[in-house]
Symmetry: C2
Subunit: 352 residues, 2 copies
């Protein structure tokens, strides 16, 4: 039987002081070593004297400690290693941090944290992952809520039109942080804001997370059209249709007074659909140019989140009473082996 | 004193037959010789056995007759001169046509048609001009209505995300034709539709015309940002803000159930803001890179409609009770000689 601790006013007082101090000065962690994780570290180093950084591979940690840059991603960004604590054990970094930015591919999330006996109590989990947990068919925030038993109020997402490559170059970017309990994230927004990053906050965590997932599917479609030879005139019509399809989907999911034309929705869609940097668009372009889906996936060294998302979103939308011609077309090409040229030609008839 | 014509049933019958035939087979004219006029001729030749074409310069007419292509614009497009009647007199072409597509720079509209004693009765004027009549500060359709006394029901606009260069390459494009009396334009839409052009019709002639004007101003701003070194991340936020600014402006002008995210509004904005072909964006880029406004205008061989539009729209919006940070910023740079870097930096603070 657990013995109750004797009431000790000094201990209670000290704890309260420590809690307050922590709320003002939370211990920040970044989980992941890809380009977006590296960009987040760069951003957060502007306002924090220490960042905890989880990298699975100890050799990569050694490399960064010696060379002060990431060997594989954004390797032209110099990192101040004096301000970095490295971890290759996930349980320890969670224990020793208060706010955890997850920026690993969604496909690796489960194996990174499951069966590790992690205690999430009092932690704020911020997902910078834009995708679906494969097999579970859950969004990242739903996965944390349902499978890791984290309260929704302790889960946030960070999103917005933001190529890591431009963060590396310190080009002005805008990020949106969303959490159902908005008071949880004002301070986080402040930690991220810097000379080249502006921040917005939002309560629409579900809408923003799904927007980020949908835009990857849409970008694959944009790439397919581009690969097939459709031009800028069509691309403009495609994107105009896509943002309305996204609005229908999000409204069906959860009505809200969201402004679909703001940067976390339309902006994010634009930067992905129009950019050369986008992996999802590149995957689509290869398929449009005639590569088989499997070959295109193998040829790319990075994971295109939209590929997994397409399947999950298609399953979801079956239960909805909305028209989603773009989601349907991408699914048919990726998973039903349908010829891209025919499917896209049929899609052009549904534009309005 | 005019003598009343004697009633002649045969004459009345013949006229009725001729009118019906004309309604089904209107005589089509294109006014102008630039790239958009040439693209329109190419499109219209798909469905018409004869097109009347007004080109001011008789030498250019001779060149096209001999060489079967336009010497200056889209010169890789072969034109079937057997199906073309050329005119260098505006009064005659109007007399001998029923539907007139105007595709000349807005700055030349007045001198082309004023004091020419033109009879517009029974004509349908379709404006493919995206701009403002300088000095008059009138849109093209208002100019035709107020200064040429044409009934609004006989005025239409044709718009949409459509680079002439892509029409030349037969890349799939979508055009919107708008007229307050929508029954007037179904047939016109049919004449334009072809293998590589789809058409929509709309009643929102005012909204669509102003959208096409505003997008040129916005594209100048996008170019300025690009020239100053802002990247894709910011461009996405800029365009997201711009479409909401456009919506505020159009709603203030005339409330309607227009879908701002459809191709005649958002699509048109996207193709202009993101494209290398756009003259307005190029003008902006030069200014952003440090050229003075006057030098940038001189250096360009084509007219950037947004330059004139900026002044007129800024005057209009003064009487409105809406925020238009982008319109204001572009105006200040173009007309008040304010430093672009400072104005755009201030603008970045107003993005949301």
């Amino acid at each position: 039987m657990a013995r109750l601790k004797k009431y000790n006013p000094l201990r209670v007082y000290r704890k309260r002081i420590a809690d307050r101090k922590r709320a003002k000065n939370p211990r920040i962690a970044v989980i992941g070593s890809g380009s977006w994780a590296t960009a987040l570290v760069k951003i957060l180093l502007n306002n924090s004297s220490k960042i905890n950084w989880y990298i699975r591979n100890p050799e990569m940690i050694e490399f960064i400690k010696t060379n002060h840059h990431n060997p594989k991603y954004l390797n032209y960004v110099t990192l101040d290693t004096n301000k970095l604590n490295f971890y290759s054990d996930i349980k320890t970094i969670v224990e020793e941090s208060d706010v955890l930015f997850f920026a690993i591919p969604s496909a690796f999330l489960k194996e990174s944290i499951e069966n590790k006996n992690i205690n999430w109590e009092g932690k704020l989990v911020v997902s910078a992952i834009k995708g679906i947990v494969p097999n579970e068919n859950l969004t990242i925030t739903h996965y944390f809520e349902l499978k890791q038993n984290i309260s929704p109020n302790n889960i946030a997402v960070i999103s917005g039109p933001c190529h890591a490559e431009e963060i590396a170059l310190e080009k002005l970017s805008y990020l949106t942080i969303a959490c159902p309990r908005i008071s949880r994230i004002y301070h986080i927004a402040g930690l991220i804001r810097c000379k080249y990053v502006n921040t917005f906050v939002s309560k629409d965590i579900e809408g923003i997370e799904y927007a980020a997932i949908l835009k990857n599917i849409i970008a694959i479609g944009a790439g397919i059209c581009h690969g097939l030879g459709y031009g800028d005139n069509f691309q403009a019509v495609y994107v105009s249709n896509a943002i309305r399809e996204m609005k229908r989907f999000l409204d069906d999911l959860k009505r809200s007074n969201r402004q679909i034309d703001s940067s976390a929705y339309l902006g994010d869609l634009l930067v992905t659909s129009y950019s050369q940097f986008s992996r999802n668009r590149t995957l689509g372009t290869m398929i449009g140019k005639g590569y088989s889906v499997q070959t295109a996936i193998l040829e790319m060294n990075m994971i295109a989140e939209g590929y997994f998302a397409s399947k999950c979103i298609f399953e979801m939308k079956k239960k909805m009473r909305i028209e989603t011609p773009i989601i349907d077309a991408v699914y048919k090409i990726l998973y039903q082996n349908k010829p891209a040229a025919e499917i896209i030609e049929a899609l052009t008839k549904e534009m309005h």
